[in-house]
Amino acid sequence: MLWLALYFPHLPLEVITRGRQQAGALAIIEKLGGREQVSRCNSAAQAYGIRPGLALPAALALCTGLSVQRRDRAREQQALHGLAAWAYQFSARISFEPSLLLLEVGASLRLFGGLPTLLAPLQRELEQLGYSVRHAVAPTPMAAGVLARNRPDCQVVMQDGLCEAVAPLPLACLTRARDVRNLIRHIGMDSIGDVLALPRAELARRTGPQLLNLLDRLLGRLPDPRPEWQPPRHFSQTIELLGEIAQTMALMFPARRLMVALCGFLRGQGGGAQRLQWTLRHRDHPPTRFGQGLLDPSRDPDHMLEVLRERIERLQFPAPVVAIDLRVDDWQAFEERSLTLFERPAQADQALLERLSNRLGEQRIRGLRCLADHRPECAWQFCQPGESVVPLSPRGVSQPPWLLPQPRPLRECQGAPQYGGALRLENLPERIEAGWWDGFDITRDYFVAHSPAGERLWVFRDRRAGGWYLHGLFM
């Protein structure tokens, strides 16, 4: 087994800033030892001389415009779960430590073709998600975690190199448990290597089983089972915006982060999404909700974002936005299509449909198909554009290319229908009698007629109720 640890050192800060492209001086504060002090701060705050550990009043004295946020561990935990849902595409075995994800990658290495090809997209996407990461690889989960926190970028693939890699690390980084830490302080040894050099029986006699147990798990001499994380059934994530956003296009930045997270999640599930639900939260107004539809299941963030842009451009919202969330309740099986020369037109096809239906509404973008019925009203139907149909034998040869949505009654004069003057009827009528079985019963004689203005028209006489009607146009 091989474990990849992803450690997010700035998670407390990034859960707050990732909705914004730029943020002013910001400090995360925490109550430690009875006083409020800075626990993390961004680079803008560091420029004012603010450092972690500084008391809050001192920090505010250095920078009067400093925005201060209390550390929100629940949100960090939520963010970590969101990251796990995204990371599920790289590994099916995921577990957590504080600010850290552990992925078992031994099984997926062959699939990805080696560590470098696994790590490159992973790091790129984490950057798009708005997180900075330190990673390490080791044969045991505990070693991977310890290395990621203390010796980032360290990759130990074989069991043999493990002792050597962890030896220089301080002993205290093994655990946060207070009694073991006290014990470590009392035995007067600094590094893991020092302790490993001691005879094992002697160490067990002097320190008890706890430290030995930790070391054994670290080096893989004892099993270290971790609770396995299960991916959620639905995708639902929120980005809270630091402050408010009033401009629609500024929402594209956090929206893109959500999109990348969604697409990672969909890759993990082997699915594609077709229906995205967006909610924009406002401070004092009920939230604005809107849906985003795609014609084909997709998991391409750029494509989805393009469609969203069309949708969001004409969106009106009542107040500035303070948070944005994205929810996808169901997804469809997705077949990864390789981009070949011949598939490109089909994609342009879909892109046009999506652009039109997102701007104008799906019900306004229609296709057309024939139905097997002789009644002109029932011989066709609107449908989804491009829907393939069973070809019917051609029978509209003497019928017009234009049909009126409703037959229009024609005035009659001495038994002859009128349309800008008396109509001249062409030879024999086409009789259509059908529909007694479904209540829309017609008995009509259709004629091709010529108006005095020279137009060719399709008219019929209702044989049962009498009367003439215009139903189609040939020109």
Binding site: R364, Q381, P385, G386, V448
Partner: protein, 215 residues
């Protein structure tokens, strides 16, 4: 004095002959009507706007043979704001594969032009038919650019009232019904003189004899 023969100039493309027109055969799409192709100098312009002006949305039969041919390809035939329902069985009978139709219905005047522009420049349409309400000259130019960009013919069906409005379209036709079919008058043709007329026998051949045969 150096003497250069005319033939030589022609061979080098240094001499342009007015009668032939600016649009060469590969920039034209045969209309499928022999008489119409004659007055159009070969057919509809391929990557440009054409306007069909009439009293009452007439002129669709002029392009049905072309639509039939284009519908064999994989791209859309977009109809933006058609004034009536395109009657599917009749279109099928004239050789049009209706599953390639993309109808944009019930949209405002501004949305029609936006949809037409998107369709024209997308590269996903083999032809775009538009029934706009009113179009400003600047909007026509946008559509013309979109047609060039997407290499797609755009056919605008407009009212005869707009005859006097200037237009960047490569082709403008006036159409009116006549007992023998549709009378077509060329008002403007890029690189040639207007004024040519013909009568396209719609409803004479294709309506009786099944799908029109297109070369």
């Amino acid at each position: 004095m150096q003497v250069v023969s005319l033939d030589e100039l022609k061979r080098h493309g240094a001499l342009w002959q007015g009668r032939r027109g600016l649009l060469t055969a590969d920039r034209l799409l045969s209309s499928g009507w022999t008489v119409l192709d004659d007055v159009l100098g070969g057919g509809w312009p391929r990557a440009s706007l054409a306007e069909v002006l009439s009293d009452a949305h007439q002129g669709l039969p002029l392009i049905l043979p072309l639509l039939a041919r284009l519908s064999a390809g994989p791209r859309w035939l977009a109809w933006v704001a058609p004034p009536y329902v395109p009657y599917a069985p009749a279109l099928v009978a004239r050789g049009v594969r209706v599953e390639r139709l993309l109808l944009v219905r019930d949209v405002s005047a501004g949305q029609r032009l936006w949809a037409a522009e998107q369709a024209l420049k997308s590269g996903a349409c083999s032809a775009v038919l538009v029934w706009p309400e009113q179009v400003q000259a600047a909007q026509l130019r946008r559509l013309q650019l979109a047609a060039e960009q997407g290499d797609c013919p755009g056919i605008l069906f407009r009212s005869l009232r707009t005859v006097r409005q200037g237009s960047p379209a490569a082709l403008r036709l006036r159409v009116r019904p006549s007992p023998a079919g549709l009378a077509v008058e060329v008002l403007k043709r890029r690189g040639a003189w207007g004024g040519a007329t013909c009568i396209v026998p719609v409803g004479r051949d294709e309506d009786r004899g099944g799908p029109a045969l297109v070369p």
